[in-house]
């Protein structure tokens, strides 16, 4: 398969299919995700959006019985067919989940975990990385005097920001966010949304969200998934004001889903 990839594309999907044993979860997915943009993935429950985001760092392959065909081009490599170095891929493509899931360790060790397993041992170097990552997620001022405290002492919003700091400490190029604010209150949600908007300067961000207004607020592009297919990929402005497909209009206006 020859993929025609735009220069600005971080990921290019071409006829990507995924089966959970006999269940066809992703059907002929073909679109591109641009670098330094926030791409929101929306769609009703069970439409394949979380499955899709898990294909971008090949986490989907951890599920028994999964089979993938087609292409996901990332850094000149087809993740589906080529032999992919998973450690390298997941260093480059960080993932943040629905609920902050810090390791049962100190705040410091959570952020230093990734760089350590990638071979950085020097304390002063790790200190620098930890400080930079925590500053990037606007958590440094709040935690700098208690870096040795357990990460579970932090609030929900702080834990989620810590997880983003942990993800960016390995210097990825992409961040995958799977409903990152669904377990957070509106104030923490706002801080995560602001952070995502700032981070897109340096990272490509793909975010699954059930919150339509959140997708409208912070994403540049939005992809609407339905029954494992991509119905529409468009600029967020267009998709939420005047979508091209009737199914998209019906979904975003709450007529189904």
């Amino acid at each position: 398969m020859t993929l025609v990839v735009q220069k600005k594309a971080a990921f290019a999907m071409e006829e990507l299919n995924l089966w959970y044993e006999r269940f066809h979860a992703l059907k002929d997915i073909s679109f591109q995700i641009n670098k330094n943009e926030v791409t929101a993935i929306i769609g009703p429950s069970g439409c394949g959006k979380s499955t899709f985001i898990k294909t971008l760092n090949l986490m989907a392959l951890r599920i028994p019985g999964v089979k993938m065909t087609g292409g996901i081009l990332f850094e000149n490599q087809n993740l589906v067919t080529d032999k992919t170095d998973l450690v390298h891929l997941r260093k480059k493509v960080g993932m943040i989940f629905q609920k902050g899931n810090p390791f049962p360790q100190s705040i410091y060790d959570n952020v230093a975990y990734g760089p350590r397993i990638h071979g950085i041992k020097k304390r002063c170097q790790l200190d620098e990385i930890v400080e930079e990552a925590l500053k990037r997620v606007a958590l440094w001022q709040e935690v700098k005097d208690r870096l040795k405290r357990n990460a579970f002492d932090l609030s929900g919003g702080q834990q989620q920001r810590l997880c983003i700091a942990r993800a960016i400490a390995t210097k990825p190029t992409c961040l995958l966010l799977d409903e990152p604010t669904s377990a957070l209150d509106p104030v923490s949600t706002k801080s995560i949304e602001e952070l995502v908007t700032e981070l897109k300067e340096n990272y490509t961000i793909v975010m699954v969200t059930h919150n339509m207004q959140q997708a409208a607020r912070i994403s540049d592009k939005t992809a609407f998934f339905l029954n494992g297919e991509v119905v529409e990929v468009n600029t967020t402005n267009k998709l939420f004001s005047n979508p091209e497909q009737k199914e998209t209009e019906d979904y975003i206006t709450g007529r189904f889903g």
Partner: protein, 218 residues
Amino acid sequence: MAVREQFHNDLQRIKQAIIKLASATEEALCMSVDALFNQDVILANRIISQDKDIDKQEFSINDRVILLIAKQQPVAEDLRRLIIALRITNDLERMGDNAKNIAKAAIHLGEDHRLTIHEKIKNMRDIALEMLHTAMNAFEFEDISIAGKLSEMDDKMDETYEQVIKEMLEETTTNPEKTQYIMQMAFSARYMERFADHITNIGESILFLVKGESYKLN
């Protein structure tokens, strides 16, 4: 009642309120032209006082639309439907003001001006009424082919307005002592022309609703 169903019922009620407001402006226009032709100052004063009711209806519709936007956070066509409700209501309120201004002109002319009111002002009223009916029909059925007809009708209104103004100017040269009265008639013609312009705005709002893009009709 399901939330979605409630939202649609609310939208429907706003639509009916707008149609009711359009009827009020229609009535105001008809009465103001009657007041002008019949030198009826009492009727003219009633129109001025009834305009407050039109203003109240506008505020009420605006409040309901804003509440619905805040509570339902609509997008796409639903959002456009509420945005045009605000725009159309504003146009209808301004049309009410134009009718009120014609009534004020009738008061300025008084009961004893001994002037023949230009017959073509009645033609202008008829064009305006036909345009209003067309616009409301297009609004009710969200039909852009009906809305598109407003452009041609507005051209007819503009043409008639130009003729009326031209003839009135000629009259000022033959009857210079009546200039202040003729001016009031010319103002009335101008208000009627503005009334029609607001109706074409309504047509444009309907095109925006259906097509999702802005169009100009006049």
